[in-house]
């Protein structure tokens, strides 16, 4: 996965989590909807945060070839 794509998905999922949390607290979103959004978006946020950290930046390591 490209690093930029992983970052975009992380930001989008994080934004949904924050919006759902804020909507839940302020009452702008129905509780069931806010909870559903949060439960759907949180796993995506966690996984893509890792994939973003993990994604290569184009310059690969030189593999160790042994002595």
């Amino acid at each position: 996965m490209k690093r930029e794509n992983a970052l975009l998905i992380t930001i989008a999922a994080g934004a949904v989590c924050l919006a759902a949390g804020a909507g839940w607290r302020t009452g702008y979103l129905a509780h069931w909807l806010a909870e559903l959004l949060l439960i759907a978006a949180f796993p995506v946020f966690v996984l893509f945060l890792g994939l973003w950290w993990n994604a290569s930046e184009g310059e690969e390591d030189i593999p160790f070839l042994g002595y």
């Binding site: 924050l18 949390g21 796993p43």
Partner: protein, 281 residues
């Protein structure tokens, strides 16, 4: 609500670290620092990640998302004081996650772990007993009602002690290094988690951190009633320490012994429920 999930994840992982530390100190080893499991999770996030050639690619990745999703949902149920049945349903879904995790990898070790996960379905039986006993006393499955009942009558730990023991056995079954943790025992490498490495393992660590937090939190809420949050955290820690002692002193049971002990627990609590049911009738 997002902050609850982040908090639950970090406290759950910290609890895992404390669990390892306590076991190590009891066994005369220095053990890792208590924040080691948090570092592990971060470390796995930076490790090279791919999907094994033999794996079922979709299931291999989805099972991680589902694992985090179901324990996030469980925490939401607890925080919003929802239905105990939902919590019970989520716990059963975790069994499917364990099974899917092992089978999706294509590794023989993973498959052994998955098969052991099915065999140890008996670990869910004491949960039936707990839910049944709580309903008999409180007449409701809603956490709000259960907490209200305890405010009025006192902690359920006193009234339904065998049910508390049953839930304790359930939580013990799900702890790392527990005598019942046959799905991840070392003779099958890491069991059903063997092939999940890198980001996938980091995701699973987050899910398992949340799981530990939710199970300990549920025990305190269900059997000790509504308490100030800091006291709840302290009681969760005490409960964890007792579980660590059991894990440190008990060898890993064989799969058949695991099923026997869990079924016996269920049987004893079932007899207790029948007696209580007759008395209430």
């Amino acid at each position: 609500m997002f902050d609850y999930l982040i908090f639950g994840t970090f406290v759950g992982l910290l609890f895992h670290g404390i669990h390892r530390k306590v076991i190590a100190r009891i066994q005369g080893r220095p053990g890792p620092p208590i924040w080691q499991e948090i570092l592990h999770t971060l470390k796995f996030s930076f490790k090279q990640t791919w999907i094994p050639k033999t794996a079922s690619q979709t299931l291999f990745v989805w099972v991680v998302l589902v694992a985090i999703g179901i324990w996030s949902a469980a925490l939401v149920v607890l925080v919003t004081r929802g239905s105990l049945l939902l919590l019970f349903g989520i716990y059963l879904l975790h069994k499917i996650v364990e099974h899917g995790m092992g089978l999706s990898s294509g590794s023989p070790y993973g498959k052994f772990g998955a098969i052991r996960s099915v065999m140890s379905a008996a670990s869910e039986l004491p949960l039936f007993a707990t839910v049944g006993a709580i309903y008999l006393f409180t007449g409701s499955m809603m956490l709000t009602d259960i907490l209200a009942w305890q405010t009025e009558h006192g902690p359920l730990l006193v009234f339904a002690f065998p049910a508390a023991v049953a839930l304790y056995v359930v939580i013990l079954s799900k702890m790392h290094y527990s005598p019942f943790a046959i799905i991840e025992s070392k003779e099958i490498v890491s069991g059903n988690m063997t092939e999940h490495f890198g980001v996938w393992r980091a995701g699973l660590e987050v899910a398992f951190g949340l799981k530990t937090y939710v199970l300990l939190y549920a025990f305190v809420l269900l059997f000790l009633g509504p308490l100030p949050f800091l006291l709840v955290l302290a009681l969760m820690l005490l409960l964890l320490l007792s579980l660590s002692f059991v894990c440190a002193f008990s060898p890993m049971l064989s799969p058949y012994d695991t099923v026997t002990v869990q079924s016996l627990t269920m049987g004893i609590v079932a007899v207790y429920i029948v007696i209580v049911g007759v008395l209430f009738a």
